[in-house]
């Protein structure tokens, strides 16, 4: 932290992007900055709100050479950016040297990584001498898709603001927060992921080893910073080590736990009609090598071998999955059963018998 431990005295902080670098598309700059803020909001009670006019707490700008703060930039390389500790006026502001080549990948300087660092200063963190920390002063490229704060960064920021409020993610705790045992808890999406089952809810996911009592919770952004929160459907093709994640009309691919480039893609590329705006649940059946997609009271079947939607769909869930629906929240496949989630209820559905064989609580996997 800085000398005197300056902090913001409030938890809702505004930011404004004053201008843009010509090196990147505006929407990529917006996204990099928003994700950089999210890295910090995931581990603190802080909330960041973007404003488009007037003075914000944190003003973000790109500038060349002398830019009015007595700390001129030095041209390409050397100093990449700087930011000021929390306070009025210039306090909290973050400046990026326009002489650098900014990018959303490993070319030049990755804006997301530098922004996470600078915003750390804007929130009151000084430099760390821990090489693993994002607050280490020297630049080093890290994959933004697998980026996460170091324990030093988290300890630092939480010493200033405390941990996140409930339902917010905690970094690598040993067991799930009690919230998972809330009798009214529903999940957004559930899938297997290797030897674990992953339960998505808002910005976090719980993980569970099905055969043991070992569980945990992580924030989505701590593992995949560029993935949005609120994943609505997910399924795994275990043989390919692929997991598909859906939100609204977009989907992402995780392969060997890494987010793949060229995503998100549009769900319409899978063959959905335009009136489908989001997927409620998705499940891959390894016996058929087909994926079922559930949308309101209807479902589609996608042939993973031919990469196209089977003809004759959509069909009504209640007609072909007796005891299920009309609408589901999430579904996953495990040991020849589908597990459908409807609010706080979970239905075990035998794939071979084609019927519901057990009625459980949604949180049943956590021994609640």
């Amino acid at each position: 932290t800085f000398q005197g431990r300056p902090v913001w005295k409030k938890h809702e902080i505004t930011y404004r992007i004053n201008n843009y670098t010509p090196d990147m598309k505006k929407e990529d700059v917006d996204y990099a900055i928003q994700k950089a803020f999210q890295v910090w909001s995931d581990v603190t009670p802080l909330k960041f709100r973007r404003v488009h006019a007037g003075e914000a707490d944190i003003m973000i700008s790109f500038a060349n050479g002398a830019h009015g703060d007595f700390n001129p930039f030095d041209g390409k390389d050397g100093i990449l950016a700087h930011a000021y500790e929390p306070g009025p006026g210039i306090g909290g502001d973050a400046h990026f040297d326009e002489a650098e080549t900014w990018s959303k990948n490993q070319q030049g300087r990755n804006l997301f990584l530098v922004a996470v660092h600078e915003l750390g200063h804007s929130l009151g963190l000084g430099h760390s001498n821990d090489r693993k920390a994002i607050m280490y002063p020297n630049y080093g490229y890290l994959d933004p898709n697998t980026f996460h704060l170091s324990s030093d960064d988290i300890r630092g920021i939480q010493s200033l603001y405390g941990g996140p409020e409930k339902h917010q993610p905690m970094p690598n705790p040993d067991r799930p927060k009690p919230a998972v045992c809330d009798p009214n808890l529903s999940f957004d999406a559930v899938t297997t992921l290797g030897d674990k089952i992953i339960f998505f809810k808002d910005g976090v996911f719980w993980w569970k080893f099905p055969e043991t009592s070992k569980t945990g919770i992580s924030s989505i952004s701590s593992l995949w910073p560029t993935l949005p929160s609120g994943i609505q459907a997910a399924y795994e093709i275990e043989a390919r080590k692929q997991v598909f994640l859906f939100k609204d009309d977009k989907y992402w691919l995780l392969s060997n736990l890494r987010l793949q480039p060229n995503y998100p893609k549009s769900i319409y590329s899978l063959g959905f009609p335009k009136y489908v705006k989001k997927i409620d649940g998705a499940v891959f059946n390894p016996l058929l090598y087909k994926t079922y997609f559930f949308v309101n009271s209807w479902y589609w079947r996608y042939d993973e071998r031919n990469q196209r939607m089977d003809p004759g769909y959509p069909r009504q869930i209640t007609k072909n999955f007796p005891g299920i629906g009309p609408k589901i929240d999430a579904v996953f496949y495990f040991k020849r059963n589908y597990y459908f989630f409807q609010g706080s209820t979970q239905l075990q559905y035998d794939v071979m018998l084609h019927r519901v064989t057990k009625r459980l609580r949604s949180s049943n996997w956590f021994g609640c």
Partner: protein, 84 residues
């Protein structure tokens, strides 16, 4: 830290190091305004401070690994003192 190779820094290296240490470690802040010249001792002290911060061999000399770290792209916020 890798073994620091002992070299004779060039005048350019020394000038660059002075600027680096002044910006990031407040080199001139510790020198009275009346004394215009940076003493060898205060320079050595600040090099040591910087080497300690970066986990380098603490020699107080401008060795290759120290200069290498100084030349890396970085954030402009000072490591141990405030912007003035």
């Amino acid at each position: 830290a890798s073994q620091a190779k002992v070299i004779s820094p060039t005048e350019m290296d020394e000038e660059f190091a002075e600027m680096y240490l002044n910006h990031f470690y407040g080199l001139t802040e510790t020198i009275p305004m009346t004394k215009m010249k940076i003493s060898r001792d205060s320079l050595k002290e600040k090099i040591q401070e910087m080497q300690k911060f970066f986990g380098l061999n603490v020699t107080g000399q401008l060795d290759t690994s120290t200069l290498e770290v100084m030349h890396k792209p970085r954030c402009g916020v000072p490591d141990v003192h405030h912007y003035s």
